[in-house]
Structure formats: C-alpha cells, structure tokens
C-alpha cells in the first residue's frame, strides 16, 4: 500500500452527545464501530448489504445504514443510536406506542424501525398509512407483519398532532 492510504484511520466524532476519539480499521463499518468498539449494541448488524434496515442509525440528523457507511467516514459527525435517543426521551412516546400496539415480537428490527420512523415523524403533518409503509419499505420485520408497526407510528403521529408538537 502506498503511504498516502492508511489501513488505520483516526476519527473524532460525537456519539449520543459524547465526544469520542478512536483509531479504526479502514474497512470498519460504522455499525460495527458502535457495537464492538463502543458497546452500543442497539443497532443490529444483520444483512450487511443495505437491504434489511436493522442497522439504521442517525448521522448528522439523517437516518442512514450503519453497514453502508465506514466508521472512517464518520470523522466529525454527530451520531445517534437508539440508546441515546432513548435516554433523551425523544422516542419515548413512540416506544410506548410500540409496546401498546404490540409492534414488536422478537425486537431485532425495532431499533432500526424506531430510528427510521423518527425521521418520518419529524416531518410536518400526519403521514398516511401508505406514506408510513413507503418510508419503512427499507426495514424488514419478520415477526409482526408490519400492521402493528404502522399502527404505532400512526397513533404516535396523531397524538403528537393533538398535543401540537408534530
């Protein structure tokens, strides 16, 4: 390898509001960095080619695939996982709705579902069920059949609108 390319990359970023510095292998996925190096096992590594959505995390305010971004690319980024979003309370009404509606069974897909749904809920208005399904088209759930997940997101959007926070 030529000297200008490195197989270990120094990164400094913010994860769940805390400053983190690390040296990562060039090929380390962001989701593996979060899970294996930082112990944040909420986001799940599953298909590892962008199809299932279980690894969805927030980077610089946007939901992204943790398996399709390298940790090396997250230098300077603001990263949030389901752990941090739970601690801040940003997701608490959505999480309560998931429980109330039985929107999870094994729970493997749930962290990705929550992060993806949060992005949709941040948009103005109450999304239609079709829009919810469309937005979650990239997140597989093999237990619920999706209906309860759509219910939970729809009821959260409705409740937020009623409270005037949507």
């Amino acid at each position: 390898m030529t000297a200008v390319f490195s197989d270990r990359i120094d990164i400094a970023l913010r994860v769940n509001g805390e400053e983190v510095e690390a040296r990562v292998p060039a090929g380390r996925h962001l989701v593996d960095f979060l899970r294996l190096d930082l112990g944040l096992t909420g986001a799940h590594a599953s298909c590892e080619h962008g199809v299932c959505g279980a690894c969805t995390v927030k980077v610089d305010g946007q939901a992204i695939r943790g398996c399709l971004m390298l940790a090396a690319q997250a230098d300077g980024a603001d990263v949030w996982t389901v752990e941090g979003l739970s601690d801040t309370g940003d997701l608490s009404d959505l999480q309560a709705a998931f429980v109330a509606r039985n929107a999870l069974q094994c729970g493997f897909c749930t962290p990705g579902m929550l992060v993806a749904a949060q992005e949709l809920l941040a948009q103005p208005g109450i999304p239609s069920r079709h829009a919810i399904r469309e937005h979650l088209s990239g997140n597989y759930c093999r237990c619920t059949g999706y209906e309860a997940i759509v219910d939970a997101i729809e009821s959260t959007a409705q409740a937020r609108a009623d409270r005037g926070v949507a």
């Binding site: 200008v4 996925h29 390298l70 399904r133």
Partner: protein, 277 residues
C-alpha cells in the same frame, strides 16, 4: 460479511482526489455515497480497494442553473435531488425517479454521480441521464472531459470513465415548455431494484425512451421512439419488446420482463396523453 479494504484516504479537494487516484497503482476506488460500493465490498465482490473518499469536496456539491442548462454536482445526494426546487422545475424526471430509488436511509447517502459512474443496469439515474440527453463531466490526469450520456454507458457496470478520472457533475438541457418526463417501474418491494422500468421523455424533437433492468446498460430504443413519434402506441410496444434482450434471474424471467416493459410503456403513454393510471 465485513468489507475488505486495502486502505482509505480522505480527499480535501478535487486535485487531491486525482492525486490519490494517480498514486493508487490502479487499486484506487472513488468512495462517494457508498451505497453500492460498500455493499459490494461487504459481499467481497471487490477487495483490497484503496478508497478515495470524496465526500468532503465542496466543489462537487450543489445544483446550479446556467442559462438553459442545469448542472448537478456529483455529490448531490438522492434525498437532495428529491427536494431541490431547480431539479423539480427543470428536470422533474430526476425528482420522480427518487421516489423509486431504494429506501429513505439509502437516499440520504447515495449520490447521483456515484449512481451514474456505477452504471448499474437496474439503477434509475443512469437511464434518466440518457433519457434527458445529459452530459457527463469528468476530470482526470489529462484534464476535464465532457461526455454525452449516449457515449458514456458501454456495458454492464462499464462506462467510458478512464482509470484516474472522477465524475464531477452532470448537466442537462432544462425541460422545454410542454415537455413530458415520465418514469415507471415495477419492483417486488417498494424501493427494491426494478424487475423492469422505463423513462420516457417527450420533446418537440420527439420521444426518448430508455429502459431499466432489461439490458446490460442504458440505451435509447429508436424503433419504439419512432412509433411513439407517429402516435402508434401499440406499435411502439411491439417495437420495444422486440428491441430488448432482458435477463432471466431469480426475480423474473426474460419473458416476464419483456411483457412488463410493454405494460409500462402503455402506462407511460397514458400519462403522456394526460390520462394517468
């Protein structure tokens, strides 16, 4: 699986990126949005790449109107194409295509330049670029080149970009008054790669038709375009089905894809006649 990467370097500007590629002994690989490249590395379809990360290069970002042409920086992400007012007004085909490209989290990262350079026959933006008669702008060791989309796509994942070159932007003529731009496709799951798809652009000069997922690379379909120009939609369907050579795979047989492409052209024709289905 886990990606096997030979090395990584973050380019600070275009010159730096070109220098890095020049020093990579042919192992250099431009990393833009990474939504196809990292997936390919994860599946070990590509190993040992020396990655040149161009995401920090500001000059590759942004959408500008220059007279009667729209210029779209290579690093413009799909989610930005979806919401950019200049694109919505002057190249609505691209905005409509973003509804069909993958899923929200992937659209937040994927870039239009990356999609066109990757030249996946199942991808929307390469087909759109040709349907809109775009020009592909690249830069490299021998200086910048402007390549008409019609001369850009050569084969399966093959383009006329040379080793050491980087796709910097695309530009395209803005839509004429009364121009129609339509894209239709069918996929098993919303956002998955299309089983078949097509773009139809109707300009004063005539129709332009480019298909998705039914050949090795985006190509115009002159016979079907001529039948559309003549107002003969049934004839265009026959000509289109005859012109393509679709693959058979686990998703769909060649015969099914050939059937679908005709259905999609009929839907597009209904749109062109103001009768959306």
């Amino acid at each position: 699986m886990k990606a096997s990467v030979g090395g990584y370097a973050r380019a600070t500007d275009l010159r730096h990126a070109l220098d890095l590629l020049a020093q990579s002994d042919g192992m250099g690989r431009v990393l833009a949005g990474g939504q196809s490249l990292i997936a390919a590395m994860n599946m070990r379809l590509s190993t040992g790449d020396l990655l040149v990360d161009i995401n920090q290069i500001a000059a590759l970002k942004g959408v500008t109107l220059d007279g009667d042409r729209l210029r779209i920086g290579a690093l413009t992400r799909h989610a930005e194409v979806a919401t950019d007012p200049l694109i919505a007004r002057h190249a609505p085909l691209l905005r409509r295509a973003t509804d069909l490209i993958a899923h929200a989290a992937i659209r937040n990262r994927g870039t239009i330049g990356g999609a066109i350079a990757h030249a996946d026959p199942a991808a929307e933006f390469p087909a759109c670029a040709l349907a809109l008669d775009a020009t592909i702008h690249v830069d490299g060791p021998d200086g910048p080149r402007d390549i008409p989309a019609a001369d850009f796509f050569e084969g399966l994942f093959e383009t006329t970009i040379q080793d050491g070159e980087i796709l910097t932007a695309i530009s395209l003529p803005i839509a004429e008054d009364g121009e129609w731009q339509v894209i239709h496709e069918l996929a098993r799951r919303s956002g998955d790669y299309a089983l078949a798809g097509l773009c139809v652009v109707r300009r004063k000069a005539g129709h332009r038709i480019v298909c998705i997922s039914v050949g090795s690379h985006p190509e115009l379909v002159p016979d079907a375009m001529a039948r559309m120009d003549a107002g003969d939609i049934d004839g265009a369907v026959v000509a289109l089905r005859a012109a393509i050579d679709p693959p058979s795979d686990t998703q769909a047989s060649a015969a099914y894809r050939r059937h679908l492409i005709g259905v999609l052209l009929q839907r597009a024709a209904a749109d062109l006649n103001g009768e959306p289905q």
